[in-house]
């Protein structure tokens, strides 16, 4: 039984990792109906930024964290301006492909700049564990769980209770109508890319002690976080985190109890089954257009 609970807890920690990245997917989708396949690579870039600020420049951890998040927000805005804005409104699949191309590009450029070795930074969370009776949770994983919960709550409140959040929801519903209503659509889209890249950078920094920093970490995690976002229903912020938790727990339990090989496939099998039953994910809206 203790084994099970321990596995469950590490599954939840892993799930929060996926959820944190999935949040970035969902944010951009929620505001602009764009699916950003490069989200994992933005996270990877955030990790490299924090390595540069802390490991190379020698800044304090929290200052480096702040700088990395700000730098990524600017980077996100620049990406939106150069790559996304000209093709906004064209078929969704071509935007998906453009972000896949962006992912390719970021991965190899990061590999060229920072090399292909695993990089490590010292963080306040690198060592130390929290003991709850017989349960053991490492601090680095705990930091991810806490950050995911906080970010999820903040972003949920932002989308549902602020003017800007309402403007973003309106933009995704119908861009032209939103523009007519006086919503600064371009600024909204820029802002959401900045927020999403900042969330990705946060994920990258918090994951740095767990996964280390290398150029392919984004692809691997992004490919798990994406099903998480889909599972939760792509437009829902709590859905992203819950989807991440489901994927993380299933993956961990399957790795522990099922024969070898199931670990990587089980999340996808569950995803396919869920999509068969609920085509818009667990928390996605299932409205149909009436003619």
């Amino acid at each position: 039984m203790l084994d099970f609970i321990q596995q469950l807890v590490s599954g939840i920690a892993l799930g929060c990792v996926y959820g944190l990245i999935a949040l970035g997917f969902v944010l951009i989708y929620k505001a602009t109906e764009v699916v950003n396949f490069a989200q994992g690579d933005l996270m990877m870039l955030g990790g490299f930024f924090v390595f540069t600020f802390i490991g190379l420049v020698g800044l304090d951890y929290w200052l480096g964290f702040l700088f990395a998040v700000c730098a990524m927000a600017v980077f996100g805005m620049a990406t939106e301006r150069v790559l996304i804005r000209p093709i906004l409104g064209y078929p969704q699949f071509s935007i998906v492909m453009a972000t896949i191309g962006l992912g390719y590009f970021l991965r190899s450029v990061a590999g060229m700049i920072w090399g292909t070795d695993d990089l490590k930074i010292e963080t306040p969370f690198s060592t130390g564990v929290l003991k709850l009776g017989d349960l053991v949770i490492a601090h680095d994983k705990l930091s991810v769980i806490v950050a995911t919960v906080i970010l999820c709550a903040v972003l949920y409140a932002f989308f549902n209770y602020t003017r800007m959040g309402t403007a973003m929801r309106a933009t995704s519903e119908n861009m032209l109508a939103a523009y007519y209503m006086g919503i600064p659509v371009k600024r909204v889209v820029s802002l959401i890319w900045a927020i999403s890249a900042a969330v990705a950078a946060t994920a990258g920094v918090l994951l740095a002690p767990i996964t280390f920093i290398h150029s392919n970490v984004g692809l691997a995690l992004g490919l798990k976080a994406f099903p998480a976002a889909v599972l939760g229903g792509f437009g829902s912020i709590p859905g992203a985190v819950i989807g991440g938790l489901i994927i993380g727990v299933i993956e961990t339990l399957a790795g522990f109890y099922l024969p070898q090989g199931w670990k990587d496939v089980a999340p996808y099998v569950v995803l396919l089954i869920v999509l068969l039953v609920r085509p818009h994910g667990l928390f996605g809206p299932s409205m149909r257009k009436k003619v």
Binding site: F105, S108, M112, Y268, P279, H280, K289
Partner: protein, 383 residues
């Protein structure tokens, strides 16, 4: 500019619309037939890969370009075709049996994938096909009695009714050419038939198509099955060309490469598949050549411009260091995808049509002809 005077309704759907088609495609065919006798074995083998990629491209154009269903799982269909061929061949079954068998099995699997696709659209469909591809990859790695797992599998030379077709020979080239020509004809004929028209109607508006009495479910499954079957045939050729297959050859990256074929070529016409395949296959040798030649060229250019010899030598070394940096290929792939989507959304075939129209209308060509109408994002969530 040629005006075709129409005297018959059938003229609208004729494959060869006027005599010019005979000349141009006849010439192309003649060149392709003469090709193995003109070029070296390396280039010939590259062209065989162009054919195989083009077959997959045609399959994807039927699914994505005509029916509007996105797929990032075509590497899995290719794998199923390849492994079917490898397994059946090792059981001593003849090529003329397992070639169609691979197509049928892959087509059946494609139809199975098509069923979940009925309820999914857009991004949900993309992730479902990715999930399917991952599951297939894992099955290939685990089902060791059939696939030999991660060790991979040797595929012997094709035995065509007792006649061996070695993978580097001219016969293999013609076999691939034949299959490609067949699949192109199939796609073109499909477009002329009610089935193809239904596909296009589904792509343009599912709601409208449904209102016109088109059975969405049936046609979507059909589209998936046809596309998968063609990819399965390409898989057989791919297996024989590589002569060795293993699960890690059929990853998501290969699926992305296939999508690149139709994005670069242009997804709205069959020409796009061939042009895109040429581009994707030839980008590799081109980059290699670039890596070797550009630093030397750059250095000699710098010397003639009056640079000191040792500075020019340093320049050459820096340039070749950049050229041989690990991962340069990925960066260039990424750039190519982004550039095409931003600046050439109709792909190479679109560019060809633009150039052609420019000369046909010579002084009267206006850029606005191909300008895409700006659309505004509307939620696809409640469609």
């Amino acid at each position: 500019m040629r005006f075709v005077f129409k005297t018959d309704y059938d003229q609208d759907i004729r494959l060869l619309k006027h005599s010019g088609y005979w000349w141009s495609y006849g010439a192309l065919l003649a060149v392709l037939i003469a090709f193995p006798y003109l070029v070296g074995s390396y280039l010939q083998s590259q062209i065989v890969f162009v054919f195989i990629y083009a077959i997959v491209g045609v399959a994807l154009i039927i699914l994505t370009g005509f029916t509007g269903q996105a797929s990032l799982g075509h590497a899995a269909f290719l794998a199923i075709g390849a492994y079917t061929a490898g397994f059946l061949q090792s059981q001593g079954i003849s090529f003329i049996v397992y070639f169609p068998a691979a197509a049928i099995i892959t087509g059946a699997v494609g139809a199975m994938v098509g069923f979940p696709a009925l309820r999914l659209s857009g991004i949900y469909l993309v992730i479902a096909t990715i999930a399917f591809a991952f599951i297939v990859e894992e099955i290939l790695a685990r089902w060791e009695s059939v696939t030999h797992g991660n060790e991979g599998m040797r595929v012997r030379t094709i035995d065509f009714l007792g006649q061996p077709i070695p993978r580097d020979g001219d016969a293999f080239y013609f076999l691939c050419l034949l299959v490609l020509a067949g699949s192109i004809l199939l796609a073109l004929n499909l477009l002329r038939s009610p089935t193809g028209r239904a596909f296009i109607a589904i792509r343009d508006s599912e709601t409208a198509a449904k209102s016109m009495g088109i059975d969405l479910a049936g046609y979507k499954v059909k589209s998936f099955a046809i596309s998968a079957a063609l990819t399965g045939m390409a898989g057989v050729l791919f297996a024989h060309k590589m002569s060795f297959i293993s699960p890690e050859m059929f990853t998501l990256l290969l699926s992305i490469e296939f999508i690149m074929v139709i994005i670069i070529g242009g997804a709205f016409g069959v020409h796009g598949a061939v042009l895109g395949a040429i581009f994707i296959v030839m980008v590799d040798p081109f980059l290699t050549a670039l890596k070797d030649d550009v630093p030397v060229l750059g250095a000699s250019l710098a010397t003639t411009l009056g640079m000191a010899p040792d500075a020019a030598g340093k320049l050459r070394d820096t340039m070749s260091a950049i050229g041989s940096a690990a991962g340069l290929k990925g960066a260039i792939y990424g750039l190519i995808i982004m550039m095409f989507i931003l600046f050439e959304p109709y792909g190479l075939y679109g560019r060809w049509l633009k150039v052609k129209l420019f000369f046909q209308l010579f002084p009267l060509y206006k850029k606005a002809t191909f300008k895409r109408q700006k659309t505004y994002v509307k939620s696809e969530r409640n469609r």
